[in-house]
Structures are given as structure tokens and as C-alpha cells.
């Protein structure tokens, strides 16, 4: 498996990272190096072995259905570049 320069541009766009124009070729090479390294795992024979989802063998902890949080609007909005009347205010984003 390998990625092309177009793939790298696309991945950047999907992740909302500015297109690394002057570094696309270099990044593509680095990413392909990582992928090739990970591909070594394919040498392991996993026929008939169930895929492991997690190395942790405890069950998922469950919480009771009670209201224990919230009502902290000031904290929630504290880091917002802009807030008004209790709302976050962001650049117009509508279809």
C-alpha cells in the first residue's frame, strides 16, 4: 500500500490542514516509508485468528442515567473566539 501526492493533498484537505505545498513530495515519501514499515506485519500468519479490538480485557464501564454535569456555560464558552447571548458565534456556514 502506498499513497500518491494527490492522496496527501486530499488527506490534508479532509483533516482541514493547510495544503503543505512545498513539502508534498517530501511528506509523500515519508508517509510511504511509514506504510511500508507497518506492512511488515503482513508477514505474520493470522489465519483463523480473531481480530483483536483492544488489548484491555475489562468490560466497557456503564454510567447511570442521572444528570450530574452541565450548567457550566461560562466555562464552555471561555475559549471561544466569539460568543454572544450564550451562543458560540462562527463564520456563516449554511447551505
Amino acid at each position: 500500500m502506498s499513497v500518491s501526492e494527490d492522496d496527501v493533498r486530499r488527506i490534508a484537505r479532509l483533516a482541514r490542514i493547510a495544503e503543505p505545498k512545498d513539502r508534498v513530495a517530501k511528506l509523500t515519501g515519508e508517509l510511504n516509508g511509514i506504510l511500508a514499515w507497518v506492512e511488515m506485519l503482513n508477514e505474520v500468519d493470522v489465519d483463523g485468528v480473531e481480530p483483536m479490538t483492544t488489548p484491555v480485557s475489562t468490560p466497557l464501564p456503564l454510567r447511570d442515567d442521572t444528570v450530574t454535569d452541565g450548567e457550566i456555560r461560562e466555562k464552555v464558552l471561555k475559549n471561544a473566539p466569539k460568543a454572544e447571548e450564550g451562543f458560540f458565534v462562527v463564520p456563516k456556514s449554511v447551505e
Binding site: 479490538t53 447511570d64 464558552l77 450564550g86 451562543f87 449554511v94
Partner: protein, 502 residues
């Protein structure tokens, strides 16, 4: 009308021949719970913006989601109510996309291993006929926040109160064949969820929204698809996002089908895309931002372990399932002897069914109670724009009233007067009848006396009846008038016939 009533086949005529439509729906139903799916913030509707938000819902760095047990139970309960397989192993994945009302930059959902697998529900069309829709899956996921675009011409306001509320996405098979069936499916689903108490089902409050997948094909193609399961027999589908009323669902399907037919007939090709329905114009249009966003790059959420359910967890929910609409309808017909129509009307709304059950729990006759609840009570409620839960007449009062009719204390006509008093003034029907002298006169002596007086006073009419027996009605009316409507109609008829010799 494109709908053939006999076969329920919905066809749309085109320039090159007839077309049929195929519809599948993804319904997002808000889980009824106190707290959110992965945080302890409240789910209450209508609060001030950003008050029901925890640091988890706002996606602050370092926050970890912890799943709400009750939401899991609600999903399992719903799955059982949809006659579906419960997957005792399921897993949460991240669905990645960017939008201002999604602070995490991803939605926690279930992609590869949903909590509920295949099921099916029986739906009812307006004419009482039924059809079955397959359920492909149900999975748990987080709702997003809410963007408000009309507070400022240049800015969007974001409220995260809804962010993180639990949703069940219920995905149907493409077994829906007309706009009417789509509405019937969503209505049936809503009724089931309301019976299960797993979702409020209020579309105006956004508790249920639907994504509607529409494609068109030539007659016969759908049958081939059903036989083989091969989607290539069907047309390319378009998905209409976030439609929030039954009427809009029907309108969107009608518009979208016609749009696709026009494109194909002009030699074009349908492009698989996500579209929006504009309720103001009745038109669907392509969503620009979604062109690329279809690449969600799902992967297992590393913050959450797989959800593994004990068999006893599922069984406890199964044995405590309430009676569902379909079973209730059958019982009303088979055990209580109600007509199919009456049973369907009662069962269609859980509050109505509960009210009716409360009436018959007081020992009132089933059929007569159904009649009174469906006609008099619902008629009056509709007229005054009230819901059943706001009814001024209680089930006990209706039961009392029905009891008085069954035991011949009052006639059906007087019962309507008593109902009026119960509605406006309140009180116990039996006491009302007693204190206002509304009891039916079944004392034949008293009725005979009235009849004798009437015959003596109207000899011409009496002669007429002997020639034309159908004019007996005039005397019946007079007796009723003289007794204030309290005479037992059957007794009056018998006495009149005897006295007049007809």
C-alpha cells in the same frame, strides 16, 4: 392518481413508459433518557443555549466518554420491539467530518458492528391494508449541536445543548414503494417507539428525523431485486437529508422521483448524491458540502471499549417488554370483539389506547366503550383542539356512562346529554342521572299512559298508521318528546304497535 388501490402499486407515467419508485429510510430517533449518551449533561429540550453542556460534549481536550447504561437498554428494547436480532458484541467508531456544530470533529457512531441487526415491522396504510418493511440495522450514535443561521446575516450561532444526546439510527431495507407507504412506515415506527417508551417521537421537537433514499426503476425490476437481492436491478439512489415531517417526506419523494425520471428520459444519468429538501419550495437540491465529506474515515474509537452484553441483560429487557401495537390490536379484535377499524384507531396512539384500557378496566363493555371513546370523546377533543391527556372527561366517567347504557338505565341519546354535563360541569354520571331525573322510563305502565293519551288526542294520525305502518315514527317521536327522551325506545315501539294494531 398514480396509486392503484387494489394492488397499492404506485406508478409514475413518463414519456417513455411507466416508472416505479423504491425508497429506503434512515430514521434518527432521539433516545428517551435523562442524561446524554456519553456525558452526565441533561437532555431536556428548550433550555438556554449551551447550558446542558459538559466539557465532554464541548469536546475539551482530555475529556473521556463514559456510556449511559440506560441508553444501551433503550436501544436493545427498541431492537426487540422491531423483532430484530440483538448483537451482544457491538463497537463504537468515529465518523470524521467537520462542521461548526460538531465540536469533536467526529461523531461517535457504530459502523461495522451495530448493537441491533436485522428485523422487520408490519405497517398499515390509511385504508387498513398492511405491508412489511425489513429493518437492516439499528445503531447508537451522538447527536450534533444546533446551528442557527438567522440571528445574524454574517454569522452562525451554535448551541451545543443537543450535542451528545443519544440517537438511534434505524435503517430500513428499500421495501417502501410509495410516498404514502413511507409516511405509514415512519408513523408505525413512531407508534412502536412510543409504546416502548424509548423515543418521544415528536417530529416538531426534532425527536425523529429521516434521511430518505429514493430511486426509480421500470415495473418488474423491483421484483427481480427482491428475488435475487441484487441492487443492480434498481436505479441509482439519491439521499435526501434530514426531512422532519411526514408531509415533507411524501413531498420530497414525489419531487425527487419526478426529477430522476426527467433526467433519465432526457438521456441523462442519475448521480448518487446527497440532497436537501426545501420545505418552502417543495424542491430537492444537491448539497455542496457533502461532495467530499462522504469520506468519513471511520475507525474504532480508542476512547471506548467494545460493548459486550450479557445474555441476562438482554433477557431482562425481553421479559419486561410492554404489549406492542400489533399485539394490542389483535387482542382488541379477538378478545374484546372490536371492529378492525376501531381497534386500529385506538392502537395508533399509545395515549388513546391507554385511555381506552383504563375505561374497560372499570368493567365497561369493550365494543360500546370503543364507540364512545372513538366517536363522542375523540370527536369532542378534536373539535376543541385538545389531546387525550387533556380530556376533561376521565376514563372512570366514560366507564360510568357506558355502564349506565349497558344496564339500560339511560338510552344512547340521553347518554349524550350526560356526556355533555360530564364534559362541562364534571361529576359522576350515575349521580347526574339520578339527581336530574334522566333515568330511562322502562315502566310500561307509564309509557302506556302516554301512548293512550296521544292516540286519544290524535285519532287521524292513529288511523293513518293502520294504512301506512311506516308513519308509526311520528308517534315514537311524540312519546319521546312527552317523556323528555327518557322512554326506552324498544318498549315504546312495542307498546305503540300493540295499541295501534300494526
Amino acid at each position: 392518481m398514480p396509486l392503484d388501490d387494489a394492488t397499492h402499486r404506485y406508478t409514475l407515467p413518463g414519456a417513455t413508459g411507466d416508472w416505479e419508485i423504491v425508497v429506503g429510510l434512515e430514521v434518527h430517533a432521539q433516545v428517551q433518557s435523562n442524561a446524554k449518551l456519553f456525558s452526565g449533561a441533561s437532555t431536556e429540550f428548550g433550555a438556554s443555549p449551551n447550558t446542558h453542556v459538559s466539557l465532554v460534549d464541548a469536546a475539551m481536550p482530555g475529556m473521556l466518554p463514559v456510556i449511559n447504561r440506560h441508553c444501551v437498554e433503550q436501544a436493545v428494547k427498541t431492537g426487540l420491539g422491531l423483532n430484530a436480532r440483538i448483537n451482544r458484541f457491538s463497537r463504537f467508531d468515529r465518523k470524521n467530518y467537520f462542521y461548526p456544530d460538531l465540536p469533536q470533529g467526529y461523531q461517535i457512531s457504530q459502523f461495522q458492528f451495530p448493537i441491533v441487526g436485522e428485523g422487520e415491522i408490519v405497517c398499515e396504510r390509511d385504508d387498513g391494508s398492511r405491508f412489511t418493511v425489513g429493518i437492516e440495522r439499528l445503531h447508537l450514535e451522538q447527536d450534533a449541536g444546533k446551528s442557527i443561521h438567522d440571528l445574524d446575516p454574517d454569522a452562525t450561532y451554535v448551541d451545543l445543548n443537543r450535542s451528545g444526546v443519544a440517537l438511534m439510527e434505524i435503517v430500513s431495507r428499500p421495501h417502501v414503494r410509495s410516498p404514502i407507504e413511507a409516511a405509514a412506515y415512519v408513523r408505525t415506527l413512531r407508534t412502536i417507539l412510543r409504546y416502548l417508551d424509548t423515543c418521544g417521537g415528536d417530529m416538531e421537537k426534532g425527536q425523529m428525523r429521516a434521511d430518505v433514499n429514493v430511486s426509480v426503476c421500470r415495473p418488474g425490476q423491483y421484483e427481480k431485486f427482491r428475488e435475487t437481492g441484487d441492487f443492480s436491478h434498481l436505479g441509482t439512489r439519491c439521499e435526501i437529508k434530514n426531512v422532519n415531517s411526514l408531509r415533507f417526506i411524501m413531498q420530497a419523494i414525489e419531487y425527487e422521483a419526478r426529477r430522476q425520471i426527467d433526467i433519465i428520459e432526457e438521456g441523462g444519468k442519475i448521480e448518487q448524491q446527497t440532497r436537501l429538501f426545501d420545505a418552502n419550495t417543495g424542491v430537492t437540491r444537491a448539497m455542496r458540502s457533502k461532495e467530499e465529506a462522504h469520506d468519513y474515515r471511520y475507525f474504532p474509537d480508542p476512547d471506548l471499549l467494545p460493548l459486550e452484553l450479557e445474555e441476562s441483560f438482554v433477557e431482562t429487557i425481553r421479559v419486561n417488554l410492554p404489549e406492542l401495537p400489533e399485539a394490542k390490536r389483535k387482542r382488541f379484535v379477538e378478545v374484546l370483539g372490536l371492529s378492525e377499524y376501531d381497534a386500529s384507531v385506538l392502537v395508533a396512539d399509545k395515549d388513546r389506547a391507554d385511555y381506552f384500557e383504563a375505561v374497560i378496566a372499570k368493567g365497561a363493555d369493550g365494543k360500546l366503550s370503543a364507540n364512545w371513546v372513538n366517536n363522542e370523546l375523540f370527536g369532542r377533543l378534536n373539535k376543541e383542539g385538545l389531546g387525550i391527556t387533556d380530556s376533561p372527561a376521565s376514563p372512570e366517567q366514560i366507564a360510568g356512562l357506558v355502564g349506565l347504557i349497558t344496564s339500560n338505565v339511560i338510552s344512547g341519546k340521553i347518554a349524550k346529554e350526560v356526556f355533555e354535563i360530564v364534559w362541562t360541569e364534571g361529576g359522576d354520571p350515575e349521580q347526574i342521572v339520578e339527581s336530574r331525573g334522566m333515568k330511562q322510563v322502562t315502566d310500561t305502565g307509564a309509557i302506556e299512559k302516554v301512548v293512550d293519551e296521544l292516540i286519544a288526542a290524535n285519532p287521524d294520525q292513529a288511523e293513518k298508521v293502520k294504512v301506512k305502518p311506516q308513519t308509526l315514527g311520528w308517534f315514537v317521536g311524540q312519546v319521546m318528546k312527552a317523556t323528555g327522551g327518557k322512554a326506552n325506545p324498544q318498549a315504546v315501539n312495542e307498546i305503540l304497535k300493540k295499541k295501534l294494531g300494526v
